[in-house]
């Protein structure tokens, strides 16, 4: 079976990196070979490369820049090993992109290779971010992202939350909104991601496979 490339895109602060790190662990638990590529060169904080050491221990490859930095590097370039992995397609790949349209501009250099392979493009949505808070705004963001990549988004991840202040109703209301987006765009909701305590309380009617999120980039005291 051909390995898959999962491309994680979305608005700034929608939870892409937390999802990418958790998704890498999930694939590894399913005994799949996984390589996580951190493509975020627009913002030097809260990037998935910060989890490099703990992910490597789990047998997950992490590629970002050629210096294998964990924190603090603010240089807008990617390791050529990322293209190598995409071309050779020996592992499942997660491409964790930067936020908004500017964050996915780097994907263009891989356009041909991605197009020829088995890929998914997941758009992470937190409907409580002001710029993705309505059906129209989410669709506008989706269109902008697709125009930039030149490929269509294949699924939504509902990651709507207020962090520790989230209520179950917040998640249910977000589900209603995203369902409407899903119907209008014909793009399915793949996962609904939240902390374990919320996932346990979710009613059956909520769309998307339940995805338990363990926060790793955001420490407990924050």
């Amino acid at each position: 079976m051909q390995n898959k490339i999962y491309i994680i895109v979305g608005h700034y602060g929608s939870g892409k990196s937390e999802f990418a790190v958790n998704f890498a662990k999930k694939l590894k638990q399913e005994n799949k070979e996984v390589c996580l590529a951190d493509l975020d060169i627009v913002n030097p904080y809260f990037r998935s490369r910060e989890m490099r050491l703990s992910l490597i221990k789990l047998g997950i490859d992490v590629i970002s820049d050629t210096l294998n930095s964990v924190k603090g590097l603010d240089m807008p370039y990617l390791s050529p090993a990322i293209k190598g992995q995409i071309v050779h397609n020996k592992k499942n790949m997660i491409l964790d992109c930067g936020g908004d349209v500017v964050g996915i501009r780097v994907l263009k250099q891989f356009y041909q290779e991605i197009k020829e392979r088995n890929y998914e493009i997941y758009m992470i949505v937190n409907v409580y971010r002001p710029e993705t808070s309505t059906v129209d705004k989410i669709i506008e963001m989706k269109n902008k992202l697709e125009n930039e990549i030149g490929l269509s988004i294949t699924g939504f991840i509902n990651n709507s939350n207020f962090l520790k202040q989230t209520s179950i109703d917040d998640i249910i209301n977000a589900d209603k909104l995203l369902k409407e987006v899903s119907q209008k765009t014909n793009v399915p909701i793949i996962y609904i991601s939240a902390l374990e305590k919320y996932i346990k309380q979710l009613p059956d009617k909520v769309s998307g496979e339940r995805f338990v999120l363990n926060l790793s980039l955001r420490t407990d005291w924050l």
């Binding site: 913002n43 030097p44 904080y45 002001p130």
Partner: protein, 354 residues
């Protein structure tokens, strides 16, 4: 507007718009660049001006000009950029102009790093520019408090005709948090800006905005006048929070992100039966010296915690006036401690006191 999830830099930008800011001049620098980026997209919708200047020095002088014409003005930067702006800040203070300045602090000295830091404490509270002046300075610990204080800052700047600085570390600029932008903040009774250089229309005498006083008597008079103003700020604007002070055997003094970490440490200590309080300065100039007179008698020592090698420590020493033993714990250069490291520093100090 209901609660929304925002990134610190975006929330600060929107708070400025809500605070009536009509002009922004700045220059990008990590970790605050989303702030000008947000204003570039949104300022015009609120009838304001956004301009990316050619440098930090140009930006702060544009702030001087726009403020002199009576506008509510903002600039933002991060540590080395704020250092570049110091000359202009001194001129603004000297000319008694209102301005709001946001400093999203990163590691130093020099170019330093891009991770969070509180190593600008002295630059902020002692003034990096020349002359006898101070800026009113706040160091909030979460996005809601940051947003509230920025909205209030424009009134405070107009009231005192003085720069107001909001000093947060890079983590507060970069993190996500739920925030309500429409929480009411105290409003000040503000006088007319009859000093603004907006033309006489033939109806009044011309006014000057200026910080040059060549006659030493004039300059002394001006400096004494400023000093009176700073005295008033010290009297009226000290702001702080106490946490868990009842029966505390030790008080930790910490602000901003460090105070958040200390809060977690206090919980751990409480579970182990160790009672420690927190004094959290919200205004760092004026430093909350009043708070030191309110410590309960149970307090046997003070632990100062900062994301620096020890800068606020000097103010703690001044306020303590030799009364209690003081220890220091700090991480710097962009390193952020875990609560357990604070717990250890507390235990070490308590062990030493016994």
């Amino acid at each position: 507007m209901a609660k929304v999830m925002m990134k610190g830099n975006e929330a600060m930008a929107l708070a400025a718009i809500k605070g009536g800011c009509k002009a922004f001049f700045g220059y990008p620098i990590t970790p605050q660049s989303e702030l000008p980026e947000y204003l570039a997209r949104h300022m015009h919708k609120h009838g304001g001006v956004f301009l990316q200047a050619e440098s930090e020095v140009a930006a702060i002088n544009m702030v001087y000009g726009a403020s002199g014409a009576g506008a509510r003005v903002l600039t933002s930067s991060s540590s080395p950029g704020i250092a570049l702006k110091q000359e202009g800040i001194s001129y603004i203070a000297g000319a008694e102009l209102p301005a709001v300045i946001i400093n999203v602090m990163r590691g130093g000295p020099g170019l330093g790093g891009i991770q969070p830091s509180q190593a600008d404490y002295k630059q902020v509270t002692r003034g990096g520019g020349n002359g006898d002046y101070y800026v009113l300075a706040y160091a909030p610990e979460n996005l809601q408090e940051t947003v509230n204080v920025i909205k209030e800052a424009f009134d405070l700047a107009d009231l005192y005709r003085n720069p107001v600085m909001i000093a947060v570390d890079g983590l507060i600029g970069q993190m996500m948090e739920p925030v309500d932008l429409d929480v009411e903040v105290p409003k000040r009774d503000l006088p007319e800006k009859d000093w603004a250089t907006i033309g006489t229309y033939g109806k009044r005498e011309p006014v000057n905005v200026n910080s040059l006083f060549l006659d030493p008597q004039d300059l002394e008079n001006h400096s004494f006048k400023l000093a009176e103003k700073y005295k008033l700020m010290k009297k009226n604007e000290q702001r702080y929070e106490f946490v868990n002070m009842e029966n505390a055997e030790l008080v930790i003094v910490a602000y901003g992100t460090m105070a958040r970490i200390v809060r977690s440490a206090l919980e751990i200590l409480k579970n182990e039966g160790i009672n420690v309080g927190l004094l959290r300065p919200i205004s760092i100039w004026p430093f909350p010296e009043k708070a030191f007179k309110e410590f309960p008698d149970t307090v046997k020592g003070i632990l100062t915690c900062e994301l620096s090698t020890g800068q606020m420590l000097d103010d703690v020493k001044i306020c303590n006036n030799g009364k209690l033993p003081i220890n220091f714990f700090g991480r710097t250069g962009g390193m952020v401690p875990e609560p357990e490291e604070i717990v250890k520093a507390v235990k070490d100090m308590i062990g030493g006191l016994k």
